[in-house]
């Protein structure tokens, strides 16, 4: 579904600071990957939100099917023993 009058869509991921992971922050239009980085810098890091940017063509993202939500995610609900909630986390650990 490429519209010649519309630049392709990119998804933007920003790393807030060293040691953290890149988080999805939104999307934008750009004609190429380098322009997408520039736009992401101008749109999503103008208030010092980040130190690193990833951009990914939106069409490269494969998403789970919303109609399969029940079968994909419900079965995990009653398996609380998978959560590491039985450990004491030291106060010094900030970004677990």
């Amino acid at each position: 579904m490429e519209d010649k009058n519309q630049w392709p869509l990119y998804e933007v991921f920003v790393r807030a600071r060293g040691g953290l992971d890149h988080k999805h922050v939104g999307s934008l239009h750009a004609s190429d990957a380098r322009m997408a980085i520039d736009h992401a810098r101008d749109l999503y890091t103008r208030r010092q939100e980040g130190v690193s940017i990833w951009v990914v063509p939106s069409k490269a993202i494969v998403a789970s099917d919303p109609t399969e939500t029940d079968s994909l995610f419900e079965p995990a609900r009653d398996k609380i023993y998978r959560h590491p909630t039985f450990y004491d986390i030291p106060d010094e650990v900030k970004t677990l």
């Binding site: 630049w7 190429d32 322009m35 520039d38 736009h39 810098r41 101008d42 749109l43 103008r46």
Partner: protein, 258 residues
């Protein structure tokens, strides 16, 4: 730069700092005209970001100029209450936006100039100027990345985009000569180790522009003598309109505050 560099008077330094500040101020104001009119929402923000960087540079420089002058004029008084003839920007900055391509051409030409200028000013004997330049050079490096990327896309793009930016380049090129035409003030600043030698800035600028134009498949126009002196306060017909819009509020409601 020798330790025995001659001193310059505060009047000369005042005018020199205004030259630097007015270039950023007028170009920033011009770019601001794009807000709400850009070809894409993303470019709206991109151009506005550059405009705000430039206004920020102008604020630092005009504040400093006001302190040098010592007559109680702050950045706002200098920006909003000077007449056209007391503005000292090179007139390339005040040339109209035209289409997006023309704005980009003007931006590339000035970004590359400010980059070479600030890189050298960062080593100025004047500590305040050196600090302002060191901060601004990071901004300008991004501005040139943005503008030169666009010039390459447009120049090496479609036949239509190529023709448009080539004609914008032909239109604006003659105004670049003034940037490097050193007058007594530029020479005095260079002699005292405050400002860079403009021929040095010019050859670095020229090499940089040459590389960008080659990649953008654009033809470099020939240099021609120029007959304008925005740096001395003699402006094209465009600056008056810019100032009328920019200064309207302060002149109509003196000392109005945000």
């Amino acid at each position: 730069m020798s330790a025995a560099a001659p001193q310059v008077g505060s009047e000369a330094l005042f005018r020199y700092v205004l030259r630097l500040g007015d270039l950023s101020l007028v170009l920033g104001q011009r770019l601001g005209e794009w807000v709400g009119h850009s070809p894409a929402l993303e470019e709206d923000l991109g151009l506005a970001n550059i405009a705000l960087d430039l206004i920020g540079q102008a604020r630092m420089l005009l504040s400093y100029a006001g302190e040098i002058e010592g007559r109680g004029r702050d950045e706002d008084k200098l920006a909003y209450l000077r007449e056209q003839g007391a503005y000292f920007n090179a007139i390339l900055a005040e040339q109209p936006n035209g289409d997006f391509g023309q704005t980009i051409v003007r931006q590339v030409l000035i970004d590359a100039f400010q980059l070479e200028l600030y890189e050298r000013l960062a080593a100025s004997h004047d500590e305040r100027l050196a600090a302002i330049a060191a901060k601004s050079v990071k901004e300008v490096r991004y501005h040139l990345r943005y503008s030169s990327d666009w010039l390459v896309r447009l120049g090496d793009g479609t036949a239509e985009s190529h023709a448009r930016v080539q004609s914008a380049l032909d239109l604006l090129w003659p105004y670049t000569v003034e940037l490097f035409a050193a007058d007594e003030l530029d020479l005095a600043m260079a002699d005292s180790g405050i400002g860079p030698r403009l021929p040095e800035v010019q050859s670095a600028w020229s090499a940089r522009i040459e590389a960008i134009l080659t990649e953008a498949t654009l033809r470099r126009p020939a240099d021609r003598p120029h007959a304008w002196h925005g740096k001395r306060g003699q402006h094209s017909e465009h600056l008056g309109y810019i100032l009328a819009e920019m200064q309207y509020l302060q002149r109509t409601y003196p000392d109005a505050r945000w």
